[in-house]
């Protein structure tokens, strides 16, 4: 998914749709923003009015009026506080709701996609969308109400200022364009710079992870200095990028302070002169000072929102690119349940390719009678693993048909089909969960005894019971690390726990050492009884388990028979099994 096309309009549509869904909460946030703004604007006006009407009087202070003003002040403060709190609450509620909804949609959408999508998309890509991009959208959403308030505040404060003194107000506006330009420019420069810092930190993490993971090699080859140099390069880069951010802040940060100060200075000098002339009262002068801040300060917020809005749109477009993906394997409208039967498999003139024009299977035909087993043998890239992936319909074929018990897999309900085909992959994926739950993954209703029975059969029980927490040990990426062979034994136990009609073992014992494999083989023999089994393996002993061996080459069945028969009759079979001694 490199060089992806970003449709900003579609991103905007996604944002609007999500916001519309939260309209109640969003409207409440905007209403609260209005209340908050009114209170904020009123406070300086009341301060000014208090000074002029109750304090700075020729005849001294008017105590009664002063008390009323003080009470009004308390009321406005309460309104301001209430408004702020309500605005924040509903803004956060809206934004986190949007965040959770998008994440859920994203997750659901990925769950529904087919294997071809996972083949072309890295997990990291999906994660960065589900975390960084969703976060960007949330950040924009949460800013909407306060920026609405900022807009009102800027307009409102200008109107109030204009009422007090039009020319003075216009003078205050002078710095406006400058602040706007600087703000937008600053944030547009700042974001890429901080993104570079983040990227550098990510790189450093990889360097450290890799260094620790490969620690033995580094020591073995005495390459510590080389590693240190590698880390230093990244650390220096982080330093440089951080200093670039510092430079931006050094240039722009003080400007955000200086420009309002110029505005204030104007008010102080010109306003002070006006006050001397009698055109402005002392109260108005004080009010002016505070209102001017409210005129200028929102610009910074708006500038930040413009920059953040651009990023959020890009992020939304990136999310949309995943949401719009359609699964290539879809359940047909009138799909049927699994037919009665014991797992007869038939591949009929199947043609399939992962990439257009490069067929992996061409005219592949094979019939496996119910309850029997077949081993697929063939050189690398002959298409044998593909056969295993097509049976549970992870991909759809181009020509021909694949039938289980006489029904085309495309006419079956997808979930039911897959629940009836057990699969053990070459590299076993374990979830960060207990060993028990990983084994019971295939069958959520399995009892404790059933889980242990399966583990025993797969010769997993012996090592599980030796680990301190036994079946409760958490494994997976964050948990206890198991060896490849141990993982495979768990996967075999997982497949044994569920009585599926068809069982596929795709190089399922490749990481188990030879002695252990011999023991597991007995277990496999038990499990295979009465089930249709497809075995893919390089090990002669495992191949010999099957009733029938099929030699696959270049996407076709080229020979078939028992292991012993093929050994004597097929030179290609001998060659594939490595019997022609390359050492000779």
């Amino acid at each position: 998914m490199d060089e992806e096309q970003l449709d900003l309009k579609a991103g905007a549509r996604l944002l609007v749709t999500e916001l519309r869904r939260q309209w109640v909460s969003l409207s409440l946030a905007l209403f609260a923003a209005l209340l908050w703004t009114i209170a904020r604007l009123a406070i300086p006006v009341v301060i000014g009015a208090t000074i002029d009407n109750a304090i700075d009087l020729p005849g001294g202070v008017d105590l009664d009026l002063l008390l009323w003003f003080a009470v009004a002040m308390l009321g406005l403060a309460a309104l301001q506080g209430g408004g702020a709190s309500m605005r924040r609450y509903f803004a956060m509620r809206t934004s986190h709701r949007v965040e959770a909804d998008i994440r859920m949609q994203f997750y659901g959408s990925i769950s529904r996609l087919s294997f071809d999508f996972y083949d072309k998309t890295a997990t990291g890509q999906l994660m960065s969308r589900a975390s960084t991009d969703v976060h960007e959208v949330q950040m924009l959403t949460v800013m909407i109400p306060i920026n609405f308030a900022f807009l009102l505040m800027a307009v409102g404060s200008f109107i109030v200022l204009a009422f007090i003194h039009l020319w003075l107000a216009l003078l205050g506006l002078l710095v406006y364009p400058m602040v706007t330009i600087i703000t937008v420019r600053f944030f547009n420069k700042l974001f890429p710079a901080t993104a570079r810092v983040q990227q550098g930190l990510g790189e450093l993490t990889s360097v450290v992870e890799e260094n620790i993971a490969g620690g033995r090699l580094v020591r073995s080859f005495g390459r510590e200095d080389h590693e240190i140099a590698k880390a230093r390069k990244v650390a220096d880069q982080i330093y440089d990028d951080n200093m670039e951010v510092a430079r931006l802040r050094t240039i722009y940060g003080p400007l955000f302070f200086l420009l309002p100060t110029i505005g204030q200075l104007t008010i102080l000098a010109y306003g002070g002169w006006l006050a001397l002339e009698g055109e402005l009262s002392a109260g108005e002068f004080v009010a002016f000072f505070q209102l001017l801040n409210m005129l200028i300060w929102p610009v910074q917020g708006l500038g930040e929102m413009i920059a953040s809005g651009q990023r959020a749109l890009t992020s939304a477009a990136r999310i949309w690119n995943i949401l719009k993906e359609q699964p290539t394997v879809r359940q047909r409208p009138h799909a049927t349940s699994m037919p009665d039967g014991t797992g007869e498999i038939e591949f009929d003139h199947v043609r399939f390719s992962y990439l257009p024009g490069q067929p992996v299977l061409r005219d592949f035909s094979l019939k496996v009678p119910a309850g029997t087993s077949v081993a697929l043998v063939g050189p690398t890239a002959s298409g044998k693993s593909t056969v295993a992936q097509l049976l549970p319909r992870f991909y759809d074929i181009e020509e021909g048909s694949i039938k289980i018990d006489g029904v085309d897999v495309r006419d079956l309900k997808l979930q039911e089909l897959r629940s009836n085909v057990g699969l053990v992959f070459e590299d076993t994926f374990l979830f960060s969960d207990t060993i028990r739950n990983n084994i019971a993954y295939s069958n959520l209703d399995a009892t404790e005894e059933e889980v242990m029975k399966a583990a025993q059969l797969a010769h997993a029980a012996e090592f599980i019971e030796r680990i301190p927490e036994g079946y409760d040990t958490v494994v997976g990426e964050q948990g206890y690390s198991l060896s490849g062979g141990q993982r495979q034994r768990i996967a075999i136990a997982r497949a044994m726990l569920k009585q599926t009609r068809v069982l596929i073992l795709d190089d399922a014992t490749s990481s188990v050492d030879a002695r252990m494999e011999e023991e597991i083989r007995n277990a496999l023999r038990i499990v295979m009884e009465g089930r249709t089994t497809v075995i893919i393996s390089h090990r002669v002993s495992t191949i010999a388990l099957a009733d029938q061996v099929v030699l696959v080459d270049q996407g076709r069945v080229v020979d078939m028979g028992s292991h012993v028969d093929l050994l004597s009759s097929s030179s290609r079979y001998q060659e594939v099994l490595g019997q022609v001694d390359v050492r000779a």
Partner: protein, 602 residues
């Protein structure tokens, strides 16, 4: 036995994070880091304090403008005030720029030094340390802890100095303006401080919950995206979607909880601010309690209120930041204090050249935990140029033997000798030039295949590298990869198969051309073509030098000069294939089984 396996077991025994160290022990090394930067640190503190003072001066200027200028009708006072206001503005502008830059500079210098010190320390530590420690935790020292420290250095430090100056300065100035009005106004201070403290406690708890919940969300997504094929193969999409829905909603709820807490705090604080203004207006002008201050003073009081509210809220924020910064520093310095178990000799003995490659294990007893010996009283003499194969069941101690020869560990009793010299007396440089190991899983560093092979001898030329691959017979194999020697690989997401990784790994060691080569065969089965290439590469690589191969296939043992059978930490059989096959012991039974099931007649 796999490398990871041992690591895992050891980790269970001792789940340590390094020694806990006292807070006072953090101060000293921290000051040590800052000492070379004392000038800039000083500049930072001075500029921040000037910043605070200049800010505090502004309300005074406005007060003068109002009282002496507007109320008294004095134009000169307004001009003076404007000039002062301008000067203060310029000062603030300058010191703000200086402090922003200098504070970041000091912080980044410290961080860079600390990052490199930690990384270099990781290079010095022994393998025994990495067996005990969870690697995730070691990475976290470099990421999460450094970030916590970075927050303190970049903004925490600045905020504290600034907030303290502003708060203390504002209160002093208020007292000078009118101590009576100040005393009354400060009524709002206790509720402000108490409310802020209570809020901190609750919101910190709520934010902790958010951190946990969002981590749940990320872990679940990461795992399901990576394992979606398995999820679909077991038809678990719906079940997992429901599960994610719950996790996702819990995260939403945790987020809302933080908002609810601040929804109670914020209106109170804002109202308190309004109450402060009301108090100033009423008591300041009201002549109640005999207080009667000027209009300008009232205005100044209103402005100064901000200098009290903001710093208190800031200080409470910084408090948590400082705490996590300190605990991060404790962990980092704690780690830096750990000494490697396997240390290089102070004055290493010279190794006479050329290295013969004679290895002797002399009455070696060793266990990862001293009370659980993995090897007991092992005596082996490996002649120069001998090709030795280690055979034995999983967990017998074969890999441990190899690790002792690499000096990843030192034996508890006895000694390991190279050309008659105890490994403990040799320099790391000599040792590592002489003994090189090819690990089982064929570890690849991020980079190209070329870079990975050159890792063995960085000063090798392109021709030498290709020549090495050619003599191993793996050249066509590598060239068949999508981009040949330029194929990008990474230690994680590499698409290379186990066999392909092994090929690169062997080439890397072969290029380094060590007198002694230790090779841990891959256990996983490969397709026959690759397996043949790997086997022939191993044969070539071990030719003409001392080699120790940990065999997982008996086809490897079949052709060895000498086989050692290791069982239960002891050498139980020693001899050639022909001798052992007929001895009727462990090796014989192993071989018979293999002949029956797996052997490919040749």
């Amino acid at each position: 036995m796999m490398w990871r396996g041992t690591g895992g077991m050891a980790e269970q025994r001792q789940n340590g994070t390094g020694p806990e160290i006292e807070t006072t022990h953090v101060i000293r090394p921290l000051l040590g880091l800052l000492r070379p930067l004392w000038l800039m640190s000083g500049v930072a503190i001075v500029s921040i304090s000037i910043f605070a003072l200049a800010n505090l001066g502004r309300p005074i200027v406005i007060q003068r403008a109002i009282d002496d200028g507007i109320i008294e009708g004095n134009a000169d006072a307004i001009v003076m005030a404007s000039i002062w206001f301008f000067i203060l503005g310029i000062i603030i502008y300058i010191v703000q720029a200086i402090s922003t830059y200098v504070v970041t500079w000091v912080g980044q210098q410290v961080l860079r030094t600390l990052r490199m010190r930690l990384f270099s320390h990781y290079q010095r530590l022994s393998m025994s340390f990495f067996d005990k420690e969870n690697s995730g935790r070691l990475v976290a020292r470099m990421t999460a802890d450094m970030n916590a420290l970075s927050d303190v250095l970049n903004s925490g430090f600045l905020m504290i100095v600034q907030a303290l100056f502003l708060l203390i300065g504002a209160i002093i100035l208020l007292f000078l303006l009118s101590w009576q009005l100040t005393l009354i106004s400060l009524i709002i201070l206790p509720p402000l401080v108490i409310a802020t403290m209570i809020f901190r406690v609750y919101s910190e708890r709520a934010y902790d919950a958010v951190r946990d919940r969002i981590a749940d969300v990320m872990i679940h997504m990461q795992e399901n995206f990576a394992g979606m094929r398995v999820v679909q193969a077991f038809a678990r999409e719906h079940h997992n979607e429901q599960q994610f829905d719950r996790i996702n909603e819990r995260n939403y709820e945790a987020n809302l909880r933080t908002v609810r807490i601040s929804s109670m705090y914020i209106p109170f604080i804002e109202w308190l601010g309004g109450a402060g203004i009301a108090i100033i207006l009423y008591f300041g002008a009201g002549a109640v309690f005999g207080i009667d201050v000027s209009v300008g003073t009232i205005a100044a009081f209103v402005f100064y209120l901000n200098f009290i509210f903001q710093p208190i809220q800031q200080l409470s924020q910084v408090y948590d930041m400082i705490q996590s910064g300190f605990s991060a520093l404790k962990k980092i310095f704690g780690l830096l204090e750990i000494e490697p178990d396997v240390k290089e000799a102070q004055s290493p003995a010279p190794l006479s050249l050329p290295v013969q490659g004679r290895i002797d294990l002399d009455e070696v007893t060793f266990g990862y935990a001293p009370e659980l010996p993995v090897l007991e009283d092992v005596n082996v003499k490996i002649a120069s140029g001998q090709r030795l194969v280690l055979v034995g069941p999983t967990g017998a101690g074969k890999s441990t033997l190899a690790k002792l020869m690499m000096r990843f560990y030192d034996p508890g009793v006895g000694s390991v000798l190279l050309d008659g010299q105890d490994l403990r007396k040799l320099s790391f440089k000599d040792l590592r030039r002489s003994v090189i190991m090819v690990p089982q899983e064929g570890f690849l560093f991020s980079g190209t295949i070329r870079e990975n092979i050159m890792f063995g001898r960085p000063d090798a030329t392109e021709e030498e590298m290709i020549q090495a691959c050619r003599s191993l017979g793996v050249n066509p194999f590598i060239e068949a990869l999508p981009e040949g020697y330029d194929t990008a690989v990474s230690y994680r997401g590499s698409r290379l198969s186990a066999g392909e990784k092994q090929v690169v790994s062997i080439s890397r060691a072969f290029l380094a051309n060590p007198p002694v080569l230790i090779l841990d065969e891959a256990t996983s089965s490969m397709d026959p073509g690759t397996e043949a290439i790997v086997e022939s590469a191993i044969r070539t690589a071990t030719e003409g030098r001392t080699s120790i191969v940990i065999a997982h296939r008996l086809s490897t043992a079949e052709h060895a000069e000498r086989i050692l059978v290791v069982n239960d930490g002891r050498i139980v059989e020693d001899g050639s294939h022909a001798e052992l096959v007929n001895a009727g012991n462990y090796y014989t039974s192993l071989y018979d089984r293999w002949i029956q099931h797996d052997r490919k007649p040749g």
